[in-house]
């Protein structure tokens, strides 16, 4: 059986503004039900890519396909089935949440009782039912962001595109919002999100693409990237007392990429697999006393940092 056609597919997608290349020869495939993260610093071409996928800006060259449609040629068909939450989304401040969504509903050709029902449902789901009839001008950043997500759900799309969804949110609101994004995946939506806050989106993305200067320089799962860039995908912290000279012993284990002594009694190991058992057994052969052993996955921040330090050098 052949794999189903990707939901989002680009082929050599390029956007130039004069001499400046915002997006450079991007080839991307996102499959149904995936949460894909476009990650990179501000100005690296993430938003331009998104606008091209929605037909809001025309590519200089290359093609894009969203749900089988060309956004440059048939943007209405794409926008009918794709929900978009722009970077720092704005609403009509003097209108209430319900009125704002009612306008969106009408623009989507929804009206009457069905529209009212859907608006109630999505506001309820986003936890905004209490403030449904308050002017949006009184909303906090996090509430506006949730209203933006409610607007996406209103049109019952197959794809949700979120641009910097957690930027400007306090940690608690950001955490809540990430939970809502997980909810979208549970509904079977394909989600494309862009962010420069790597550690926040790391937790929700199935796959990520790292952007730099208009190019997608790395792509894969977080573990994948960590293995490729850092050499090890796992990080094991070991706390011991007694014999404090274990570097050689631990480095000798097959599968250990690197050993660092952080401070007396604390070692950090980069490994290619979860090797807590082997590490513990090895320490048991020495005279040291094992106090604790924990495993953490390296963060995307580190991957990013390392990658660009290496490529800049």
């Amino acid at each position: 059986m052949s794999t189903p056609a990707p939901v989002i597919e680009t082929q050599g997608l390029t956007k130039r503004y004069g001499a400046f290349t915002a997006v450079d020869d991007l080839t991307l495939r996102i499959h149904a039900g995936e949460v894909f993260g476009l990650l990179g610093p501000n100005g690296s071409g993430k938003t331009t890519t998104i606008l091209m996928l929605l037909g809001l800006t025309e590519p200089t060259s290359g093609t894009a396909r969203v749900l089988g449609e060309d956004p440059a040629r048939n943007p209405l068909a794409v926008k009918r089935r794709v929900g978009y939450l722009p970077d720092s989304v704005g609403f009509y401040d003097e209108l209430t949440a319900v009125e704002n969504l009612a306008y969106t509903a009408r623009l989507n050709g929804l009206r009457g009782r069905e529209a009212d029902q859907r608006i109630d449902d999505v506001l309820d789901r986003m936890g905004l039912a209490d403030v449904a009839h308050k002017p949006v001008g009184t909303f906090s950043r996090g509430m506006k962001q949730r209203l933006g997500l409610a607007e996406i759900l209103l049109k019952q799309p197959q794809v949700a595109i979120l641009d910097e969804p957690t930027a400007g949110l306090d940690p608690h609101a950001a955490h809540e919002f990430l939970d809502l994004i997980r909810g979208l995946r549970a509904d079977g939506l394909t989600v494309l999100l862009s962010s420069h806050l790597l550690h926040q989106v790391q937790a929700v993305c199935d796959r990520v693409g790292l952007f730099n200067k208009g190019k997608m320089v790395l792509e894969g799962t977080v573990e994948d990237l960590a293995r490729r860039v850092l050499g090890g995908a796992y990080r094991i912290s070991v706390e011991v007392t007694g014999d404090d000279n274990l570097e050689a012993a631990l480095a000798g284990l097959p599968g250990v990429v690197r050993v660092r002594r952080e401070r007396p009694g604390l070692y950090t190991l980069d490994t290619q697999a979860d090797m807590r058992g082997e590490v513990a057994r090895r320490i048991a052969t020495t005279r040291a006393n094992l106090l604790g052993i924990t495993i953490t996955q390296p963060s995307l921040d580190e991957v990013y940092e390392k990658y660009f330090r290496v490529s800049a050098a």
Partner: protein
């Protein structure tokens, strides 16, 4: 069909969602404090001028076949301005107030990308905003027209004739066309300038230019290009004709001429008239409506054409703009 490679044809109607935008814009305008203030201002001046006009008409004019039209054009102490003169001043102001932040306001509220991510084209947004504001103006002006007419019937005790109604309705149409040009101009600046204050100032500057300076400039230019050196009639005629042609580049002149022809049936020509042309004419007799309409048909179409040109320029400018704020 010939299609250039690399420039894909759009699919789907550009008018999808147009009425949703129109309805939203009208609801916004009709409930906005900005519009309320202007409506109050217009209402006050309308009642003031028409009330004074009624008093004047009752005192002075006994027998006038177009008594009703005098309501619009009579200027009396202490205001010294007629209803139409005030409208010529307030309507550009209102139209600019409705249009100056049409597009840049959406940018600044960061709503543009969200709205354009809905299944509509930019065409629908731009035209919807224009029509929404124009319908708002039309509703206001039609309400005003009914008010003036009602006040006239009530205070004068005279029922307007069919022709008077037709003439004042044409005056209403001319006023809407005049409002449309300032609206189109304000919207053009709202696309061109990112700051609403800048676009408002630019639109007001154009209006001020035509209202105050254009006449002076026209007189100077006509005096230089077609000087009256020897005092011949030909020289004077040539200067007057050039002056008229230049002043007609201003929408204010076009509007004033339309008012003149619609509300004063006695007016039979809008430019310099030679004595030979008046041969056989009975001076002071009113023209039939069809002839008055014929007289200012070029003005009406000219004004409409100017609206279309301004809107087209706005459209091209808006289509080329980037969505991201």
């Amino acid at each position: 069909m010939i299609r250039r490679e690399g420039t894909p044809q759009r699919e789907g109607s550009p008018w999808t969602g147009l009425w949703a935008v129109v309805v939203k814009e009208m609801a916004d305008h009709l409930s906005s404090p900005r519009m309320r203030v202007l409506e109050g201002l217009i209402l006050l001046t309308a009642i003031g001028t028409v009330y004074l006009a009624i008093q004047n008409i009752r005192q002075t004019i006994g027998e006038d076949p177009f008594l009703f039209l005098r309501l619009f054009t009579t200027a009396t102490e202490p205001l010294n301005y007629s209803f139409v003169a005030f409208m010529g001043f307030l309507i550009p102001l209102t139209a600019i107030a409705l249009g100056f932040d049409a597009i840049n306001g959406e940018y600044n509220r960061r709503t543009l990308s969200r709205v354009l991510a809905q299944p509509i084209y930019r065409d629908a947004l731009l035209l919807g905003k224009f029509l929404g504001a124009l319908f708002t103006l039309t509703i206001t002006l039609a309400g005003l027209w009914l008010l003036v007419t009602g006040l006239g019937i009530y205070r004068l005790g005279v029922i307007p004739s069919g022709e008077e109604v037709a003439r004042s309705l044409l005056f209403l149409l001319a006023t809407v066309a005049y409002a449309a040009i300032w609206l189109a101009l304000a919207m053009m600046f709202s696309v061109r300038f990112r700051q609403p204050a800048t676009s408002a100032m630019a639109a007001m500057a154009v209006w001020l230019f035509f209202a105050v300076f254009w006449d002076i400039i026209v007189r100077i230019v006509a005096g230089i290009v077609r000087p009256v050196q020897y005092g011949f009639g030909e020289e004077q005629l040539a200067q007057a004709q050039l002056q008229l042609a230049l002043s007609r580049l201003s929408p204010n002149t076009l509007y004033a001429e339309m008012i003149l022809a619609f509300l004063n049936p006695q007016v039979r020509a809008l430019g310099p008239v030679l004595l030979t042309q008046l041969e056989g004419a009975i001076l002071g007799t009113p023209l039939p409506l069809s002839q008055s309409l014929l007289l200012v048909w070029p003005q009406l179409t000219g004004l409409t054409a100017a609206v279309l040109i301004l809107f087209a320029a706005t459209y091209v400018n808006f289509q080329r703009q980037e969505v991201r704020a």
